[in-house]
Amino acid sequence: MTKVSMTVNGEAAEGEAEGRTLLVEFLREELGLTGTHVGCDTSQCGACVVHVDGKAVKACTIFALEAEGAEVRTIEGMANPDGSLTVVQQAFQDHHGLQCGFCTPGMVMSAAALLEENPRPSEAEIRDYLEGNICRCTGYHNIVKAVLAASGQDADRIAAE
């Protein structure tokens, strides 16, 4: 076991990890932040997406020790300081962009990363960017709408075209 420390959602976090401990295991089991999920073991489903130093990464495909000293943001750190939902989160609720909720944390983290890079993505750009986040419930319709809406676009009109 090695001591590892990082900043998680703006707060210093410290714990123990083996070499083989994944960041997602560290977050879930050592820090008790169970919002980040694991949906596969081949780095494809994206339920585990978090931000490390501002970039979306799959927390199941990075070791905890690789995140030593990093700024990590998880779904638990996404809401506004007063606890209210941010624009992206609110858009997911408004447009019914989630059903069972299991892929949702990763989906929200990827959507937030997309909007950071591209504040007004087209439908095609959204679908392309979310290639690494699998949702089995929504058929993606309302997820894409939510991201369009979160970027200030008329999601209903675009979806109906």
Binding site: G39, D41, T42, C45, C103, L130, R136, C137, G139
Partner: protein, 787 residues
């Protein structure tokens, strides 16, 4: 103006807040003090005789508490099958034992050989590698028809061959059907495969067993769509624990699509091992394990014949299906190709003569059971494909051919034992033609052709049967359980309400939609109502959520319980208002006396029920809580019409879905936003089945598509926006809400639509292709174009 609350309002989902902030509580989020972890050593060969297992090295490994093998379960019951099908000769199906851990033989890749319990997941897995075993490999049977050959290897030595049952439905129809086909003006024949799928809810299965010696209580936390069913099956048939000593909790469940209905070995193991070891035992499935241990879906091979008279009226349908059961009978497996499939073979059409034959077959593969739609997609697929082929052969418009044969008068008794209570199939087809802009298709086809692409239009209709019932009927059909549901409406002193329901949402939004119903009935705010589900210790009973049954069955129970609450509350209000009970009306959260301005608020009545100072104690008890069990009189019959436009790249065979439209009749709709979402998700799963997903085995029984590297899940860029509509509403005639169910429709209606569209596209390019088996991968479509 759309409503902003109650029935018909697009109320935003309250459960979303926790899911969007990472504060949901899924089973894997549960960790108990002193918890141990189990790793299952699974067979990597499909069929073999276990000669020897030596766990001694493994037991000495660091952190290992105990290693279990089949021997430890010799005195323990096997996993039960919940449905017994009777074959066409009146004999019961062959039903093999289904051990928790393999005994004597392994029968599919992924079957549990041994279980290592240790203080960490990785240590348990380390130790599993130290287990020595000797398995003599036997030839595997994978192909169903080969499995029925006289000299085929037997999956179960103690059974008579690999045939589970040979079912004929309706056997009395057979001669008439044969005659009608002989005499037909035209017969269209189609042989097709309904591809094996893996349900793949994004949350893999998890089980945590716990045991308290102090009060001899076992608790299982599990990813289940129906915790009471698990308690019943596991308690009564596997472990012998009475209900009052066994609690089953399914907290937030991350999707199921059928795969989390069934009682699995891992659940029984964790409960059993926790008792043995006196410590909690946890198992979290990896996705790789899920592929070889979650029940699979579909896997039918069918020959269908459709007979028509000279005026193109359907006169008979005859089908012969081989249905793969896998190596064991999963919980409801036998019912899927029979009662959930044969009964739907009439589709939306007046076909006087129908005969369905199903041979269920054991093979050395993972057990197959219900997956979104369960039997109904298989029925719809073959019927809507053969109708499309018939239209092409006869040179008639596929929509017109369907309309000509639609059932138009209700109730309609089909020749396959069910009675459609209501519907309007022309109305949904009209709506479809409008929202799909069928008229504009030819122009769009020309645009595609200008880009070098082939464009096709596929259309179909579907009907399904939801809320399978009534119990006395399903009992006659072989169900070993009732199919009612239950709800308790507990009104608190201040007027807020907790509703304990037997349905269990795993994405359907019950926490939002169920309160809409109560809000409408009582005239109180939706936020005054809370739904409690997923815990056998809190809920009277319940059969869970599957088969699009939750609102139609459990929602009806909730309505009945609420009606009882209202009846009692009116008595209290009458007392408080010093009026006759018959004159009391409940409106907008107030009780009034008809024709007067006297009123008492809901909250004052509920308070009186719990602080009965001024209360008719001589007539009624204090308190305000009612329970109802509801057993439906019939299935419900959602129906609709779907259209799809595809482009095919003639050089690569790649299919892209350009447009998709769905017009559904779900009867009354409680929350249209949620209903839309259910249809979207079902369509995407149908697209997955039609174009992408294929659970494939090689001839030795190895699972070839064992991860997302080879099993293609629909992703955001595989699908378009969908046009969905459910404004055609013929309310169900026999449940109090007039609802039919919407969860499976999308997955039932979409696969034939897509295949019809691809075939149409290929014909437009001069490729006279009769059929391509799903999934229509680029390689398959390209190969079809080469013939």
């Amino acid at each position: 103006m759309p409503k902003d609350h109650g029935i018909g309002a697009a109320s935003k989902r309250r459960e979303d807040v926790r899911f969007l902030t990472g504060t949901g509580n899924y089973t894997d989020d549960i960790n108990l003090p002193r918890q141990l972890y189990v790793h299952f050593l699974r067979s990597d060969i499909a069929h073999g005789e276990i000669r020897h297992i030596d766990t001694s090295d493994a037991e000495g490994m660091p952190g290992v508490k105990r290693v279990f093998t089949g021997k430890d379960f010799e005195g323990v019951g096997g996993l039960p099958c919940g449905w017994q099908v009777t074959d066409k000769h009146g004999q019961p199906m062959q039903e093999p034992a289904h051990p928790v851990i393999a005994q004597g033989k392994v029968r599919h890749v992924g079957e549990i050989l041994a279980a290592v319990v240790a203080d960490s997941r990785e240590r348990a897995r380390d130790a599993a590698e130290a287990i020595e075993f000797d398995i003599a490999e036997l030839p595997a049977v994978v192909d169903m028809k080969a499995a029925l050959a006289d000299d085929a290897p037997k999956v179960h030595d103690d059974l008579d061959g690999n045939l589970c049952y040979d079912w004929g439905f309706v056997e009395e129809n057979r001669a008439k059907v044969d005659a009608a086909i002989r005499e037909a003006a035209h017969v269209t024949t189609l042989e097709l495969v309904n591809n094996r799928l893996v349900a793949n809810p994004m949350e893999p299965r998890v089980a945590v067993g716990d045991y308290s010696r102090a009060d001899d209580q076992s608790t299982l936390y599990t990813t289940s769509q129906n915790p009471h069913v698990i308690r019943l099956l596991m308690g009564a048939f596997v472990l012998g624990i009475p209900e009052h000593k066994l609690r089953v909790v399914a907290p937030d469940v991350g999707g199921g699509f059928g795969s989390k209905i069934f009682h699995y070995a891992e659940e029984a193991f964790c409960t059993f091992a926790a008792r043995q070891l006196g410590r909690p035992v946890k198992w979290t499935s990896t996705r790789s394990e899920a592929f070889m241990s979650d029940a699979h879906g579909r896997d039918h091979v069918t020959k269908i014949e459709l007979a028509l008279d000279a005026e193109n009226n359907f006169t008979a349908i005859r089908t012969e299906t081989h249905a793969n059961m896998g190596a064991y009978l999963s919980t409801f497996a036998p019912s899927v190709p029979t009662w959930l499939h044969g009964t739907l073979m009439a589709g939306n059409y007046r076909t006087p003569n129908i005969y369905v034959n199903v041979k269920a077959v054991f093979t050395n593969t993972v057990p197959v059971d219900a997956y979104r739609g369960a039997g109904r997609p298989e029925a719809t697929f073959q019927l809507e494909r053969v109708i499309d082929k018939a239209a092409r052969e006869l040179g008639v418009d596929p929509i017109a051919l369907r309309r000509q044969n639609f059932v138009t008068e209700f109730p309609y008794a089909t020749p396959v034992a069910v009675e459609y209570d209501t519907g309007d199939y022309n109305a949904t087809m009209d709506k479809l033609e409008e929202i799909a802009d069928i008229e504009g298709f030819e122009a769009r086809r020309r645009e595609s052709e200008a880009k070098g692409k082939l464009r096709g239009l596929g259309v179909n209709a579907y009907i399904e049967a939801c809320g399978i019932a009534p119990s006395n009927l399903v009992g006659q059909l072989g169900a070993r359980a009732g199919l009612y549901d239950a709800a308790t409406v507990r009104v608190n002193a201040t007027g807020s309400i907790s509703v304990m329901v037997g349905a269990h949402s795993h994405g359907q939004g019950h926490e939002t939609s169920f309160p809409q119903v109560i809000s409408e009935m009582l005239g109180i705010g939706e936020d005054q109502v809370e739904i409690v589900h997923g815990d056998t210790s809190k809920i009277p009973f319940g059969m869970g959520t599957y088969g699009s049954r939750s609102l139609a069955v459990c929602g009806s129970a909730m309505v009945r319980a609420t009606e009882k609450v209202v009846a009692k509350a009116k008595k209290i209000a009458a007392h408080l208002l010093e009026a006759a009970e018959a004159d009391i009306e409940l409106r907008d959260g107030k009780f009034t006396v008809a024709g007067t301005d006297k009123e008492v608020a809901w909250g004052d009545v509920t308070l009186a029920a719990y602080v009965p100072h001024n209360y008719p104690l001589e007539d009624i008890e204090p308190g305000l809580e009612e329970t109802a069990f509801y057993d439906p009189a019939n299935f419900t019959y959602p129906a609709g019409a779907y259209a799809c436009e595809v482009e095919v790249d003639p050089e690569t065979g790649k299919v892209t879905i350009e447009r998709f439209a769905a017009a559904d009749d779900f009867g009354n709709v409680i929350n249209p936003m949620i209903v839309d979402g259910q249809v979207h998700g079902g369509i995407a799963q149908g697209i997955g089945q039609a174009l992408l997903e294929n659970c494939a085995y090689d001839e030795t029984g190895q699972l070839v598509s064992a991860s997302y590297m080879d099993y293609a899940m629909p992703r955001a860029d595989d699908v378009p926006f969908y046009a969905v509509d459910h404004s055609c509403q013929t309310p169900c005639t026999h449940n109090p809400l007039g609802v039919k169910g919407c969860g499976e429709a999308g997955a039932i209606g979409s696969p034939p639509t897509i295949v019809n569209a691809v075939i149409d596209a290929l014909h437009s390019g001069g490729h006279k292709v009769g059929h391509i088996d799903m999934p229509l991968t680029p390689a398959r479509v390209w190969a079809a174009m080469q013939d």
